[in-house]
Symmetry: C2
Subunit: 341 residues, 2 copies
DNA sequence: CTGTTAGCGCTTTCAG
DNA sequence: CTGAAAGCGCTAACAG
């Protein structure tokens, strides 16, 4: 491996002169610089960023830790993050946790050893050890989700969508269509977004004086399969349901699948609204009314947050909530009042 | 930032002793090691991997350059790669190129400055400059696609699926169902996989003495939209078509969409087979017959290839082709011979 | 404008 | 078993 010393010797200058040429330092004659730059190309030299990091005390790398890059939600975020970070001269080291606390610790630890300048992370439920690590961090950190109650003291920023408002909006749409007998298919209540979406559903009903019971709420999971089971259970308990709010699109699509297979017409018999606006939700056979999340935007903004903190040399805490858009397609429609299955 | 020196001073030992404790060096008394390890925890010290890289002349980082992490094909590969690499103590630095040659150069260049130990990359068409860079590389490199004609001299490994065989298999399935009037909707011929899939289609027809004409071949693009246009064009020119092979699932789904909207029955009127087996292709309304690609496996194996080369300290060239599986669902069926639209 | 030198945080001889 | 010292490739004063 060629070093700056080799180049210096080869070109008959000192290492500092080479360094100056490399770093756009003004203290260098134009011709010398040109000569050196040419020589570097010719000799096929690549500077060692790790050595540079060592002395400059900044690595120009930021860590990205997420649960699963395979999830379209995160892959789009990851795209946005890499886009802005690379444009700013940062590299991104990425790790998947699969929500496994041990892997979370491993990834975090190796990231910190690499002396990353910043960290963007979608943590699971931070246990004491993890919480402790994050507390000690003296670099900009952005959470890709709202801070929980017991995390409020952390000096980390966060970016997320307003799950509560978004769910409220979705349910409101249903009510405006005349529905007053709704059901909810949810993801786990443990995830804060799950809780918030459920709260949005309940509060919207309450505010409009529409009665609801626990029978109309099923916590199913996150996948298509769970959506299928979810509707089935819902309709068993409340056969005259006319509208369903599913806490994510996969759940909604599963519901749609089950309804189609069981000869329910959508939206004539049952309206369905989802949450997330996956690519597939706009397919001809699905045309799901759903809440669109600005995924790439989340990525872009989170990266910008760390870049800004990095350039201003101050770690300021910021909690941003992005707005969402209700996309009305063909899976929701007006109630047919006398329709009883 | 605490350094090994601080720890040494604090604990009243030398830096080399601390280093030994950190690196499981046998030349250290058990109690000393324990004392140091305890002190490190207490003092909240994190070793600097960049300094270590500098002296050890290996960075324990590998680069991953792909076109678009958002593409489910790549995100699954990326998952597999990170899984094995992190288990082996490597970190992965990732970059998206969006097939932009300038971005490709930028990413590659910054990766090399970071002195990565290995590189996994899905390159576009390498121009001369890029080709030159890759030629100079003295680290293990794995291409996530077959080497092209003019790349054969490169000392890089590759892993890919056998696109030709896979396409052949898909078309053969159609022919076995009695179809003898087929159409092809393709992605760009410039991409080698595009070319191979087309070749598989043509050769299969030729081998079975089924006539075909250019009218039955449409190069459409890669997205749903293109699939829609693709079938339309195909049926315009050859209205009595009974089967279509689409070179990827999105194309196939687009075709399915258009067919549904135009009152063609699938598979009664037209059979459709795709390529890639996306998650959505198994949905109730789609149930696409398609070729399944072992995506995660590609990631896992590519990572294993670099790990093996790294541990054996030899760069050996290896070109692996993975097998695929034809998944028969509901979008293909026997010809109805007298059916003429 | 250019060269010399110290030293970033660490590992690795080499003595002891 | 432990410590002192050299040096990885680079940048950043400081002289000149």
């Amino acid at each position: 491996m060629k070093t700056i010393k080799d180049i210096a010797k080869e070109l008959g200058v000192s290492v500092s002169t080479v360094s100056r040429a490399l770093n756009d330092n003004p203290d260098i004659k134009k011709e010398t610089k040109e000569k050196i730059l040419e020589g570097i190309k010719r000799l096929n030299y690549t500077p060692n960023a790790n050595a540079r990091s060592l002395i400059q005390k900044k690595s120009k790398m930021v860590g990205l830790m997420l649960s699963d890059i395979t999830d379209p939600f995160f892959s789009e975020i990851a795209l946005g993050i890499e886009e802005v970070l690379s444009a700013e001269g940062y590299q991104v080291i990425y790790g998947n946790t699969l929500l496994n606390p041990d892997k979370e610790k491993e990834v975090l630890s190796s990231l910190l050893q690499r002396k990353i300048d910043g960290l963007i992370i979608k943590p699971g439920a931070l246990d004491e050890e993890l919480l402790n690590i994050v507390e000690q961090l003296d670099i900009p950190v952005v959470f890709l989700r709202k801070l929980k109650e017991y995390e409020q003291h952390l000096k980390v920023s966060s970016i997320d969508v307003n799950h509560y408002e978004s769910a409220y909006k979705a349910v409101d749409h249903l009510i405006n269509l005349g529905h007053d007998n709704l059901g909810f298919i949810g993801i786990s209540k443990k995830a804060s977004e799950g809780e918030d979406r459920l709260k949005g559903y309940i509060n919207c009903l309450e505010n409009q004086n529409i009665s609801y019971s626990d029978d109309n709420i099923v916590i199913a999971g996150t996948k298509i399969e769970h959506g299928r089971k979810g509707v089935e259970k819902l309709l068993e308990k409340t056969p005259n349901l006319t509208a369903i709010f599913a806490a994510n699109d996969l759940l909604a699509i599963g519901a749609l699948e089950w309804l189609a297979e069981n000869n329910y017409k959508v939206p004539e018999d049952v309206s369905v609204v989802g949450f997330e606006n996956l690519e597939i939700s706009s397919l001809h056979w699905i045309k799901l009314t759903t809440v669109d999340l600005p995924r790439k935007e989340i990525g872009v903004q989170s990266a910008n947050m760390v870049v800004n903190m990095l350039s201003s040399e101050t770690i300021k805490k910021e909690e941003v909530e992005l707005d969402t858009t209700l996309i009305i397609r063909k899976s929701t429609g007006k109630v047919k009042y006398l329709n009883i299955n």
